[in-house]
């Protein structure tokens, strides 16, 4: 069981053999794109004067490009651009925050598993085996179902499932790193264990976990969008990409853009984070 990688997309060192000298454009483009998206979400009220919740049935179903509504309006006459921007606030916030707890908890457990080994490692790894046996979405959906709809449940569900990947990544790295000379030297010089772990091992093993966190943010955004599409995530009328797609699906024939635009937004966020992850890998391989 332990030989199987996590059932989630992982970023692998894809093309280290082509390590070009010069600037890391992949990283810069990814960071710029992601920064633009985050800024657009933060400054949403400045970028659009329309209220994302304001209904106006007289101005319903306007096509993109209509005056005052760059991306048109939905069935209830709400401005699509403003709903997209305010939706980004929710999806990005939940996506990033839902990854933080698993990153910290999973990395800590992985560090201890790799360093200590023995019974602690055995217990945690058996737990990992059990969690990865569930398809990611199915367990998250079942947990959110049991805990009740809402962002709090999403945080709990994603954290309960997500720590596993970090634990495995960091554990694997520690197993290699602790036999290397700097770690042996730190041990031989009689440093306290916590100091060896935190000051010497952690900085060397955490990089891979951070690279993974980039694609994990995409995964957790996909989870929120999927849950909201199924009606288990962020409750309407709060603007959110997944529920916008669900609403847009009802008028697919007449207003194709209502379901299309929010989906494209998810793809662009995914692209930005994938570029950052790839760029980080290139950066580390260069060093």
């Amino acid at each position: 069981m332990t030989s199987i990688p996590a059932p989630i997309p992982t970023v692998t060192a894809d093309a280290p053999r082509q390590s070009r000298p010069g600037r890391n454009y992949t990283l810069y483009v990814g960071l710029t794109l992601f920064a633009l998206i985050v800024l657009a979400a933060i400054f949403a009220p400045l970028l659009t004067s329309a209220d994302p919740l304001q209904q106006n049935l007289l101005q319903a179903r306007l096509a993109p490009g209509s005056s005052g509504h760059l991306l048109g309006t939905d069935d209830l006459g709400r401005d699509v651009l403003s709903r997209i921007l305010f939706g980004a606030r929710i999806d990005l916030k939940v996506g990033v925050l839902a990854v933080l707890i698993p990153l910290v908890v999973g990395s800590m457990l992985g560090l201890l598993c790799g360093w200590w080994g023995r019974w602690f490692d055995t217990i945690v790894m058996r737990l990992v085996d059990i969690v990865v046996a569930f398809p990611f979405y199915v367990l998250v959906i079942a947990l959110v179902f049991a805990l009740g709809q809402g962002t709090r449940s999403i945080y709990i569900a994603i954290s309960a499932v997500g720590w596993v990947a970090y634990c495995r990544i960091v554990r694997g790295q520690v197993l290699v790193a602790k036999e290397q000379e700097y770690a042996l030297a730190a041990r031989a010089s009689g440093l306290p264990t916590w100091r060896i772990l935190v000051r010497h091992l952690l900085p060397n093993v955490i990089l891979q976990a951070i690279v993974y966190a980039m694609s994990d943010i995409v995964l957790s955004i996909l989870a929120i969008v999927t849950l909201s599409y199924l009606g288990l995530g962020v409750a309407p009328p709060t603007p959110e990409w997944g529920s916008m797609i669900a609403e847009g699906q009802n008028s697919l024939l007449t207003q194709w853009y209502l379901a299309t635009i929010p989906g494209l937004c998810v793809v662009v966020v995914g692209l930005a984070l994938a570029l950052i992850a790839d760029g980080l890998v290139n950066q580390f391989n260069k060093r």
């Binding site: 569930f134 398809p135 793809v267 966020v269």
Partner: protein, 314 residues
């Protein structure tokens, strides 16, 4: 002999996993705020009726006993009664919807492999070329693809604009099933392409740099013989594991994809059970999906070990 030992060792590791899975599924009941008996009977139930149902459901017993009862029923194939459809057993409900999901997963996997192999081969054949660049862009652009949204876009393009394929349901005949499964299967295939292409391309490049490929080329074998007969065979073995792991991810996305296409499989049923707050059905489907993943992981491991002796030696 060595292989038999590996199989035995691998089977033994399943026991704690299966116990853990059933325990987590059992715990879903405990996570739900409020009293399941009240949920079942409605808020106007008399305290006496609630107490009776508690006894009937075993809710008055300690936790470990409740779990053992749950496990005992499970071993007899008894998954309980549906809350939503009174008097219908969960197992008959779930198993009657198994066929569309099995179709979806099998056809979806076939599509995924059929698209991945040629693209990864073309890309690895000339690393750095324009085609390679285009293929390498797929994982980047595709990582954030919500599978259900891919389905909606396919409905829009192939179902509504160009009316070539049915967009919902499962049909009534074999031919109807085939027609109805194409779009949903394509959806889940496209959603997992990014990871598959990335992994097969990477292992192809690794294999193409190895000594036996140089030898094969030096022997004067044709380019296609080297690529298919030698490189793909070896790169494919590593990718089987990735495919198996992905299958776990894929079955999870059937819930949303089946909803998009109103395909009455197990995933769609999970969605309906969630709407109807039908806990036993949610539990049963979660369990079935997990057992499916465990089985697929087992089979990929065994296949990997059969194809690559280094795995069972290590």
């Amino acid at each position: 002999m060595q292989y038999a030992l590996y199989v035995l060792r691998r089977l033994l590791t399943l026991i704690p996993v299966l116990v853990g899975i059933t325990f987590i599924v059992f715990l879903l009941l405990k996570l739900i705020p409020g009293d399941p008996a009240v949920t079942l009977l409605g808020v106007h139930a008399t305290p006496k009726a609630v107490a009776e149902l508690h006894q009937q459901m075993g809710l008055d017993k300690p936790l470990y006993q409740q779990y053992l009862t749950f496990l005992g029923h499970l071993l007899q194939g008894n998954l309980g009664q549906s809350y939503q459809y009174r008097g219908v057993s969960v197992s008959s409900l779930v198993f009657s919807n198994l066929a569309p999901t099995v179709w979806l997963i099998v056809v979806g996997t076939v599509f995924a492999v059929a698209i991945t192999v040629p693209l990864a081969m073309i890309s690895a054949n000339r690393p750095g070329s324009v085609t390679d660049g285009a293929v390498r862009a797929i994982p980047l652009a595709g990582i954030g693809l919500p599978s259900f949204w891919v389905g909606i876009m396919l409905i829009l393009l192939l179902g509504l604009k160009v009316k070539v394929l049915p967009v919902s349901g499962f049909g009534t005949s074999f031919g109807g099933h085939v027609q109805h499964i194409i779009l949903p299967a394509l959806t889940i295939a496209l959603a997992q392409l990014p990871i598959l292409i990335r992994s097969l391309r990477a292992s192809m490049l690794e294999v193409l740099g190895s000594d036996y490929i140089v030898t094969a080329k030096a022997k004067g074998l044709s380019r296609s013989r080297v690529m298919f007969g030698h490189a793909l065979r070896n790169a494919g073995v590593a990718s089987i594991t990735v495919l198996g792991v992905n299958l776990a991810y894929l079955v999870g996305s059937t819930v949303a994809v089946e909803k998009v296409f109103a395909l009455n499989g197990v995933g769609f049923q999970m969605y309906n059970a969630i709407l109807g707050r039908d806990l036993p059905v949610v539990q049963a489907i979660t369990l079935i999906f997990a057992v499916f993943v465990v089985t697929v992981n087992l089979l990929t491991d065994l296949a990997h070990a059969a194809l690559d002796p280094r795995v069972r030696l290590g």
